[in-house]
Symmetry: C2
Subunit: 232 residues, 2 copies
C-alpha cells in the first residue's frame, strides 16, 4: 500500500451538499472508504444511504455517516467543501496533528448576499490561507477541487476529463492529495505552487459560474501542454 | 465582409516584446494586416522585418511599422500587450471613439520587483477596468489573451488548441474580438462575462507562470464541456 493511503476513511465535511455528495460518490466508486460528515448526523445518514443507492451496481468503498466533527476525527484526510470558517471553528477540537486538510472552499460574495461571480476579500488572501491559520498546529493544508462542478461529479456517466489545481507549501502534501484525488477517473492534479496561489485557484470558481450561466453547461478547467501524469 | 472586419490593420501595441511578436505573426499568417507598434519606431521596423522573414513561406497579411501612437491611430482594433498604464497614458491622443481596445495586459507584481506569480492590487479591480477608465470616451474595451503564452504563439508549429477568456460589458464587442482572435487557428474564445471578470482572467497569467516554472512547459487554458464554436 503506498504511503499516501491508509486504512482510515477519507472524511468529506459537508457531504450532504451537492458538491460533497458528488465527491463522496466518486471516491467511493474508486474504492475509497468515505466518512460522510454533515452538521446534522441524521442528514449524514440519509446522504450515506442515498450515495449507497446511487452506487449499488458497482463495487465501492464503504460509507459511514457522522456529524462533521465525528467524520473529521475518524479520518487521516479531511476534505472541506463549504462554509469554511464556521465549519473549521467547530472542527478545531476534532482535527489533530498529522492530518491532511484538503480545502475546496471558495469565498464567493454570495455568502454575504453578493453575486456568485464575485469574490470576497479574505484577510489572509484566500480561504485556504485562512484555513491554515485556523487549524491546529501540525494539520497540513492543501487547496484544491475548486473547479470541479457538483453536477459533473454527481453525474456518474460524465467522464470528467479535467484538472484539479492543487496549491500548497509542501510538495509531499500535494502529492498525497493528488494520489487520493486521482483515484477518481478523469481527474488530473496539477501542482500550481504555494498555498498563496489558492487566491487564484479559488477565484476560478467565480469565473466558471459566469461561464456556466452564459452557456448553461458545467465547465471545468484543463491546462494544455502538460503530461498526462504529473506525479510519481 | 462581416461587420467585425475592416480594411484597416489591427494594431499590436508592444509588438517587439515576445507576446506581441508571436501574436502579430499569428494574425498575419491568418491574413490579417498588422500595424506593428513599438515605443521606438526603428524597433517596430526591425520587428516587422523579423516577422515577415519568419513567415516568408506562407501567404500572409501585411505588416506596417509605427511608433505605438501611429499604430493605434491607424487601426480600428488595438491590442495592448504590456506596460499598460504607461502606454495608455501615451496613447490617449491616438485612440478615438469607435475603436475596440483588446487589453491583454496583466498587473504582475514583477512590475514592481515582486514575483511574477503574484498580482498587484489595481484600484479599479483589474488592468482592464483601469484601461476603461483611461481611454477616451467611446473607445470600447474587451479583456483577453492573458493565458496564451508568448512561446506557444511564436512557435508556428504549435497547434495552440486552447481558449482565450474574454471579458467585457458588451456582448457585441466581445463577439468582434472573438471573430478577430479566432482567425488564429487553434484559439477558441469563451465569453467569461463582464469586464470586472478580468480580475480573475488576468490572475491566471500568474497561476500559469507558477505551473510553467514547475513543469518547464508553456501551459494554456482549456475549459471543458463547452461547444467547439461559441460565437455566431
Amino acid at each position: 500500500m503506498p504511503p499516501s493511503e491508509s486504512a482510515k476513511p477519507v472524511a468529506v465535511i459537508g457531504a450532504s451538499g451537492a458538491l460533497g455528495f458528488g465527491l463522496a460518490m466518486r471516491l467511493a466508486r474508486a474504492g475509497v472508504a468515505v466518512a460522510i460528515g454533515s452538521r446534522d448526523p441524521a442528514r449524514a445518514q440519509e446522504t450515506a444511504a442515498r450515495a449507497a443507492r446511487a452506487l449499488e451496481r458497482v463495487a465501492v468503498g464503504s460509507f459511514e455517516a457522522f456529524d462533521n466533527a465525528g467524520a473529521a476525527s475518524a479520518a487521516d484526510v479531511v476534505i472541506l467543501i463549504r462554509n469554511q470558517s464556521e465549519t473549521l471553528a467547530n472542527l478545531s477540537g476534532a482535527l489533530s496533528p498529522g492530518q491532511l486538510l484538503i480545502d475546496a472552499t471558495v469565498p464567493l460574495a454570495a455568502a454575504v448576499s453578493g453575486k456568485a461571480t464575485r469574490m470576497l476579500g479574505v484577510w489572509q488572501g484566500s480561504a485556504a490561507e485562512q484555513a491554515r491559520e485556523m487549524v491546529p498546529e501540525g494539520v497540513r493544508v492543501v487547496a484544491g477541487l475548486h473547479t470541479v462542478s457538483a453536477a459533473s461529479l454527481a453525474d456518474l456517466e460524465n467522464p470528467l476529463e479535467q484538472d484539479v489545481l492543487l496549491c500548497g507549501d509542501s510538495r509531499e502534501d500535494k502529492a498525497q492529495a493528488a494520489h487520493l484525488i486521482e483515484r477518481i477517473e478523469g481527474l488530473r492534479c496539477v501542482d500550481c505552487g504555494r498555498l498563496e496561489m489558492a487566491r487564484i485557484a479559488e477565484s476560478l470558481t467565480a469565473l466558471l459560474i459566469a461561464v456556466n450561466a452564459r452557456y448553461k453547461r458545467h465547465a471545468g478547467i484543463r491546462l494544455t501542454d502538460l503530461d498526462a501524469s504529473l506525479w510519481e
